[in-house]
Every structure is written in structure tokens, then in C-alpha cells.
């Protein structure tokens, strides 16, 4: 059923008894042309674009829990394309442009809110690095502004300008950046993929890959064996586990990142702000909660929960950047398992196994990539060649030294 204000009214009159399920709950077929493992944002988007853009409709998304139970449903919802390296800018800007049309394309209000993303800087070297980055964005036709302290004050007046250990000198602002309602992205793509014929198979965990003569045949799951011509892996924090099923090791470690939400408050913050002297970034959700996060907990983990030391570190940053936040009360905090790659940039590539494709390494920044990731991954699977905008995200770049290392931290994932 098409979503619109009119339809909403019509259903209101009938007590909302006529809404259809947003997606079917099919029993899996015995085989598909393409199987996507992972019902997160990327997996669902991939399924949608495979069908919609590349005409492959005999597909299924296999999700071990419920769709959106992974990182797409637990992230801090920030979208931006404010990168420094051209390969990243190009790709994330594609995503940004897709976000800008997303609601109309999906007929689903994912609440894309371009309220601006502001990264603060507190020293000259930081200013210079941001200048290099902002200029790279502008060279790519992406919007970026370098604000001085007064510019920042005009935008977000109640930051700590006067009593700070690390004074705010200015900020890099991307006005087109912002937030998107996380769950709605999963549901919007899920519903759209379902409408295009894809099967969303929930509570279906992939436990093994069947490979013969270095060609993928299908997958073992908790709901039985399912055959496939091609298998796309989009399981974020579980990427290494899936790769292990094919005997592969990845340039990835799984780490936990925490997120926090406060009680609902009347509007206090209109922009996404990132602290440059500590680990803290924050935005306010439409419901009124301040949604924020900080650094990784720092050690390999497959447990979706965080450590107290990181909670303190994040809140120290919060208080130092925005002293009025002190009395906002944290309502809940949780963790997600991130596929941290060795250079902090993603991988969208074929693997050494025929028919097995990999979408991984999204670190803490893959939510904003969702539309472009889905589109480019679908392109790769359908055409067996990378989409130009994602062509740099190859697996062999590490060995070659063609790393895409925004932060210059080298192969230590917990530092990216």
C-alpha cells in the first residue's frame, strides 16, 4: 500500500485495520539467483537495488535475527560526506545525494534531516587538517565551510567558548550533512525490497557456506540449506565469521562502539556537533533525546555492550564541549559490533571464491553509506565489476599499500 497523507487519513477512519504487513514472511525457497546475508541497512539496500536497478528479482535476504537488529538499528544516525581522501569523498557524496531523494524513491519517510554536521577544531594543526579536508570536499563539488570561533558561536551558541581546557577555534561545517532515522532506513529498504519481490527471511542464521571447486553453491542456515548462484555478504560486525566459513581471513577486527540517548528534552541542539578535543559527537533526535557517542571501547569484541571507562570518557567530552548537557540524563546506552578495517575504509569487492562477494569494513561510519553501499554492491554482484564510485574499496589494496587511511593510524583498527 502506498504511503501518503491521504492514505493515512483513510486508514485512520477505518481504525488502522487495513494496513498491510510491510513485508511478507516467506518460507525460504530452495534456491535463489542471489542471496544476501545480513538484513541490515546494506543488505536490504543491496536487495532493493539488485531488483530495482539491475533486474534481479529472485533474491533473498537472510537475517539471523530480525531485520535492523544489527548496527543499522543502533547507530547515532549521522550522515555526512566530509572526508579528506578523494576515493571516500566520491563514494560518500554519492550516498549523500541518494539520501536527498530517498524518501520519494522508497515512499517511506526516513526523516532525512540535513541539519548540518559541524566538526570543531581546537588547534592550528587541526585547523590545517580540516582545511585540507574541506578543500578536498569542495574540489569534489561537495559543500564545506570553515567557520571561525564566532561562526561556530552563531550556529551553536552554548558550547564551551570561555572556560575550556581546549578552546574552540572554529569548525568545519557541512550543511548538507545531518541525521536519518535509523530504523526507518532498515524498514524502508525492507519494504521496498519486498515489493520488488525479494524475500526477507528473518530468524535465519547462516552457519556455513557450501563451496565447490572454489565456487559458492549455497549456504547452510538454521532454516536449512539454501542454494544460490551468487552470495553477497553484508554482515558488518560478523564479517570475519562469515569469511571464516569460506576459509578466508579479512583485514578486519570486530570492536564494540557504544551509543547513548538521554531523556526527551525540548529542542536544544539543531546541528550535529563533533568535539575535536575529546571523543564526543551529538545530535538531538526528533523525539527529543540527545543521541551521542564517542570512541571505541578498544578491544576485540562480539558482545554488544560497552565498558564503563568509555562511558566516562564520552561524558567528559560531553561536559567539556557543552557544559549545559550535565543535567541531561542518560536513559539508555548500548553497543554495536563494528567491522573495523585496517585502514578505516570499507571493502566492496569480490572474494577469491567465485560467486562470493564481500561488503564490509564499515567501521563506525557505514550508516551514512547505506544507499551507495547497497547500490554499488548490487552493481558489483549483478555485473561482476565494481561501480566506479566504489572501485577503490578493493580487498587487495592492503597488500599493495594502496590504503585509504583518513586518519593515518596504520593497521591498528582500534585507532581509526
Amino acid at each position: 500500500m502506498q504511503f501518503s497523507a491521504f492514505n493515512l487519513l483513510r486508514n485512520a477512519v477505518s481504525g488502522h485495520r487495513h494496513w498491510q504487513p510491510m513485508w511478507r514472511e516467506p518460507e525460504p525457497n530452495s534456491s535463489y539467483d542471489v542471496l544476501i546475508i545480513g538484513g541490515g541497512g546494506h543488505g536490504l539496500a543491496t536487495a532493493y537495488y539488485l531488483a530495482k536497478e539491475f533486474g534481479i528479482h529472485n533474491i533473498a535476504v537472510l537475517e539471523k535475527g530480525w531485520i535492523g537488529s544489527g548496527n543499522v538499528g543502533r547507530n547515532t544516525t549521522i550522515i555526512r560526506s566530509n572526508y579528506m581522501l578523494h576515493d571516500n569523498i566520491r563514494f560518500y557524496e554519492r550516498a549523500m545525494r541518494m539520501w536527498e531523494d530517498q524518501e520519494q524513491v522508497l515512499n517511506y519517510n526516513t526523516m532525512v534531516s540535513q541539519r548540518g554536521v559541524l566538526n570543531l577544531f581546537h588547534s592550528d594543526p587541526q585547523r590545517h587538517a580540516f582545511a585540507r579536508r574541506g578543500n578536498a570536499m569542495r574540489i569534489n563539488g561537495v559543500d564545506a565551510e570553515l567557520l571561525d570561533k564566532e561562526g561556530v558561536r552563531r550556529l551553536v551558541p552554548y558550547l564551551n567558548f570561555d572556560n575550556a581546557r581546549f578552546p574552540i577555534l572554529g569548525g568545519l561545517l557541512q550543511r548538507r550533512g545531518g541525521t536519518v532515522r535509523h530504523d526507518a532506513v532498515a524498514w524502508g529498504y525492507g519494504r521496498a525490497a519486498d515489493q520488488e519481490g525479494a524475500h526477507l527471511v528473518q530468524r535465519c542464521e547462516v552457519t556455513g557456506l557450501r563451496i565447490s571447486n572454489n565456487k559458492v553453491m549455497g549456504v547452510e542456515t538454521t532454516r536449512g540449506y539454501i542454494g544460490a548462484e551468487k552470495v553477497g555478504v553484508a554482515v558488518a560486525g560478523s564479517s570475519s565469521l562469515l569469511a571464516n566459513m569460506a576459509g578466508l581471513r579479512l583485514p578486519i577486527e570486530s570492536h564494540v562502539l557504544q551509543a547513548f540517548v538521554t531523556e526527551g528534552l525540548k529542542p536544544v541542539l539543531n546541528t550535529v556537533v563533533t568535539y575535536g578535543a575529546g571523543h564526543f559527537y551529538v545530535s538531538q533526535s526528533d523525539k527529543g533525546g540527545l543521541v551521542f557517542g564517542g570512541d571505541l571501547d578498544g578491544y576485540n569484541s562480539y558482545a554488544q555492550r560497552g565498558n564503563l571507562a568509555t562511558v566516562e570518557d564520552v561524558c567528559e567530552g560531553a561536559m567539556s564541549m557543552m557544559p549545559r548537557i550535565g543535567k541531561a540524563k542518560i536513559l539508555r546506552h548500548w553497543g554495536g559490533i563494528m567491522d573495523m578495517s585496517m585502514d578505516g575504509s570499507p571493502i566492496i569487492d569480490k572474494t577469491s571464491v567465485d560467486g562470493l562477494y564481500l561488503n564490509a569494513g564499515w567501521c563506525y561510519g557505514g550508516f551514512k553509506a547505506t544507499p551507495a553501499s547497497g547500490f554499488c554492491f548490487a552493481h558489483l554482484i549483478a555485473k561482476d565489476e565494481p561501480h566506479p564510485d566504489a572501485a577503490a574499496f578493493r580487498l587487495d589494496r592492503f597488500g599493495r599499500g594502496a590504503v585509504i587511511d583518513e586518519k593515518g593510524q596504520g593497521p591498528q583498527p582500534n585507532l581509526h
Binding site: 565469521l241 571464516n244 579479512l250 578498544g298 569484541s301 585496517m342 597488500g399 582500534n414
Partner: protein
């Protein structure tokens, strides 16, 4: 998490720095192939379950330690000084 440092006793994990998989101790020889090298530098088992990894008690005695820890439950199973194993 509490990590029992063989020297200092039970300490909170926030006193330690993390490096990663203990396989980083097996640095290849210069003569080894570039492929072996890039495996060493970039690839990880990244296990869900028991995992041997390098931590340094950087706010304590400063020693590098090999910690065996479960990455699913966060249980710490054993801790030994790295220098005894290298």
C-alpha cells in the same frame, strides 16, 4: 573488565592499552614473501570466542601481556607476560 596482571594483580581494563591479536608477535623474517608479510600486517582471525591478544599494562607496570579472553563473554582466561613467550 578486570585483567589480572601477573605483576600487579587484578586491575581494571582501563589501565591497559590494547594492541590486538597476539599473532603480531610472530613477525616474519625480512626474506619472507611480500604475501606473508601482508598477511602478518593486515589479516586477522578475529575470532568470536577465545582470543589471544596483546595488552600492555600501560598505567601500571608497563609490561606487555598476552591475555586470553573470550570476545563474546569478555571472560579473561589467562594472562602471561609477553616477554616470556617471545
Amino acid at each position: 573488565m578486570i585483567i589480572p596482571c601477573p605483576y600487579c594483580g587484578r586491575r581494571h581494563s582501563s589501565e591497559f592499552s590494547y594492541l590486538g591479536d597476539a599473532s603480531l608477535m610472530r613477525r616474519p623474517d625480512f626474506e619472507a614473501s611480500e604475501e606473508m608479510w601482508s598477511d602478518y600486517i593486515y589479516l586477522r582471525d578475529n575470532r568470536a570466542g577465545n582470543h589471544k591478544e596483546l595488552w600492555r599494562h600501560s598505567f601500571g607496570c608497563g609490561a606487555w601481556l598476552i591475555v586470553e579472553r573470550n570476545t563474546v563473554t569478555h571472560d579473561v582466561l589467562s594472562v602471561v607476560p609477553a616477554k616470556d613467550q617471545s
